[in-house]
Amino acid sequence: MLKTPVPSGPAEPAPFLALDGIRKTYPGVVALESFSMRVAPGEVIGLVGENGAGKSTLMKILGGIVAPDQGTITVDGAAHERLTVGTSMQAGIAFVHQELNLFDNLDVAANVFLGREPLKGGPLRLVDRAALRAACEPYLKQVGANFPADAPVASLSLAQQQMVEIAKALSMKARLVILDEPTSSLPVAETDKLLDVIAGLKKQGISVIFISHRLHEIQRVAERVLVMRDGALVGRLGKDEISHDAMVKLMIGRALKAREALAPARQPGSVALSARGIRTPAYPHRSVDLDLRRGEILGLAGLVGSGRTELARVLFGIDRRLGGTIALDGPPLALAAAADAVANGIFLVPEDRKATGILLDLPIAQNISLPDLRRHARRFLVSPRSEAGTAEVQKKNLAIKAPSVATLTGTLSGGNQQKVVLGKWLAMKPKVMILDEPTRGIDIGAKAEIYALMRSLADAGVAVLMISSDMEEVIGVSDRIAVMHEGRISGYLDRDDFSQENVLLLAIGKSAGTEAGAAVPAA
């Protein structure tokens, strides 16, 4: 099933784009290693791989945003060391990102021709609206759009908006359209529509690279599939070899690594936080049941967009839940605002540290005291000495590297900022600690400290919920793993069933492998 990575197969038509031996490193990570691929006119290539497999680096190199360290990029026979944004566009490479870059206050034609509007009126430089619309129509027809060129973008569905993006790419004479997770936010009917558009592009001789976590979609439209893992191309599947299992096997690379080091086994405590039938705004029709036990670290894995952060926001009271009950140590909680969660000892270390975790313009001491300011106040006047005292303790315990607790938090490194976020909660009495991607963008040393800290919290009887997209982190740190898939928990894994394969299978909505033991699917 696994072909050896030969540069080109015999059946392929002459490629117009070739990557050879591409290597790209970032400090501490190899993002791409000896990567080669060919793109021939009119072929649809599926590109799959886990989060962090190197897909986005590849996209950036193709888009001319980053330069590879090694390797050549050949366009129509001309070899380049790198592409620039300009040469990438000239080569006819166009991107449709998951996050659409449309102006929803303008109409379709204005978006397609933004910055290239046909003009009239000589020196007045007026937009020739009629010509604009007329120029847009053929591209809309090409993508099979069922909406006019003067429709406001705000009135279009997500799939229709993606069609506008594709039409825009076509209007720039694209030969290769790269669709990055285009279906992740689309309902099923809309997805079908988009897949039809891809088939239509192929017929017109336009190539497509289709990146998706939804393997059945890849199976439907791709003629061949490239599988990436840890920055390398680990497999190529031809048309008849494309199957769900083959892709998954390559993505995980079973038997690659021995089992990751696990945390030593522990006796879990009683249930601290119990959530039943929780529905979040992200997936209003799915519900989540979750029990979080005292003294355990429950890893919450899943693909980006599976609803984990939304669940955390609901458990912390930031978002109102659409349904369900949350109980802490037995009695139900109202949780109308984050303040209610904080008052009950449920704390969140949010995903976006700078926007929601800390106030960058405040000193360390004031960040740490903020949620517990009343305790630092006599009558209603804040005692800076009490604040500084508490902050000093946290600074020492967490080894926050800063000249003093009066240092502005924004001047610290990412790891130290994260420690400030942790410090503000540790200074109170946590019962439930929710950490959303706690080590993202943090150097390795600080990561280890944060793992140790989570463990000591659990040992002290705190219930810890850790959301993480880092597979090794989830497996190495958790006592138990829950995996989310499209807004519901697709399964729990106990220590004996911990494996990247099982986590990934659950993350893409399959049940965990039987040979690894029984995984309990959620009710």
Partner: protein, 325 residues
């Protein structure tokens, strides 16, 4: 007192010296007393505005409220014969309720502060004019309220009581803004409302409270203004006062993005504005130029402040680079 406040104080003193040299009447007790009376009246407004601006909001209905509440107050005590302490309480409560309504619309219903208070500006002005049938509200001949008049328009050892009131209010509000839990919440919300919410602060309650404080202080100053002018024609009374208040706060170092500024700054900003008014009068500058002078000075002040912080940031970077070498 921060460096910014100190700079403002020096500017006030320098302008004062220049005016005094050109026209010594500036230092006459009567001139100083009149000016400090106006400082008292406008200062109370500016402090209220400052509490709203620090949350990143704005309160544009202040001038119209001064007219509406002034009209109501005079009507209560002059024509309806209500005891003035009761009327005073009612007006203050009314101001607070209006602040509550604004805050609720802004914090809970997520309307933009500019829009909500702009509508307030139009509504209260209109209601005030309708209430007096576009006439003038005032006292009948010989109608006197000795204790109220003493407290509002009177003087204590030559110092206008309105100015003394400002000092007292400033002191209380300084503690509230710079020392209390509530004040810290205000700054936190102004800097980053989301992060404040994620720290478990009831951000909407705090924002609503800021508008209530603004409403109460506006009501108080409306009474002072009413007792100062003693007759109110609601078509023009208090017009543009919201802009004086905003200008004073901006001069005092408040950022309209929120999260920045000191109470001393807002008061000093008011002092500078009134000093400029006075300067226009005393230096024989045509009074039609009044607004132009004020606008020019504010623009200059903000510009210098901005350039100064850019310069300081550059110097910091240069210094850091030198130390690295």
């Amino acid at each position: 007192m921060s460096k910014k406040d100190l700079g403002l104080l020096i500017l006030i003193l320098v302008v004062g010296v220049v005016v005094a040299v050109i026209n010594p009447r500036f230092l006459l007790p009567i001139n100083l007393a009149n000016t400090s009376n106006l400082i008292g009246l406008f200062g109370i407004l500016s402090i209220g505005q400052a509490f709203v601006i620090i949350t990143g909001g704005i309160e544009l209905s202040v001038g119209s409220l001064v007219a509406l509440l002034g009209v109501l107050f005079i009507d209560m005590i002059a024509t309806r014969g209500m005891a003035w302490p009761l009327a005073l309480m009612l007006i203050i409560v009314f101001g607070g309720v209006i602040g509550l309504a604004h805050g609720w619309l802004i914090a809970r219903l997520k309307l933009q502060p500019f829009v909500v208070t702009l509508c307030g500006l139009l509504i209260y002005r209109g209601v005030a004019r309708f209430y007096t049938k576009d006439g003038t509200a005032g006292f009948a001949f010989g109608q006197n309220f000795p204790s109220l008049e003493f407290l509002t328009a009177g003087r204590f050892h030559g110092v206008p009581n309105s100015f003394i009131a400002l000092i007292v209010i400033s002191a209380v509000m300084w503690v509230l803004l710079h020392r209390s839990v509530f004040g810290r919440y205000l700054y936190a919300i102004g800097k980053n409302e989301e992060a404040a919410k994620y720290s478990g602060i009831h951000t909407d309650r705090v924002v609503i409270a800021a508008y209530v404080i603004c409403g109460v202080l506006t009501a108080l100053s409306a009474i002072y203004f009413a007792m100062y002018t003693r007759s109110i024609s609601p078509a023009s009374h208090g017009q543009f006062y919201e802009l004086y208040a905003i200008a004073a706060a901006v001069l005092g170092g408040f950022s309209l993005r929120g999260g920045e500024g000191s109470l001393v700054g807002a008061v000093l900003g008011t002092v500078l504005l009134q000093e400029l008014q006075n300067l226009v009068n005393l230096l024989g500058i045509p009074s039609s130029l009044n607004f132009a002078v004020m606008g020019g000075v504010i623009l200059l002040g903000v510009l210098i402040d901005q350039q100064w912080s850019v310069f300081r940031a550059q110097r910091l970077v240069a210094e850091a680079a030198r130390q690295q070498q």
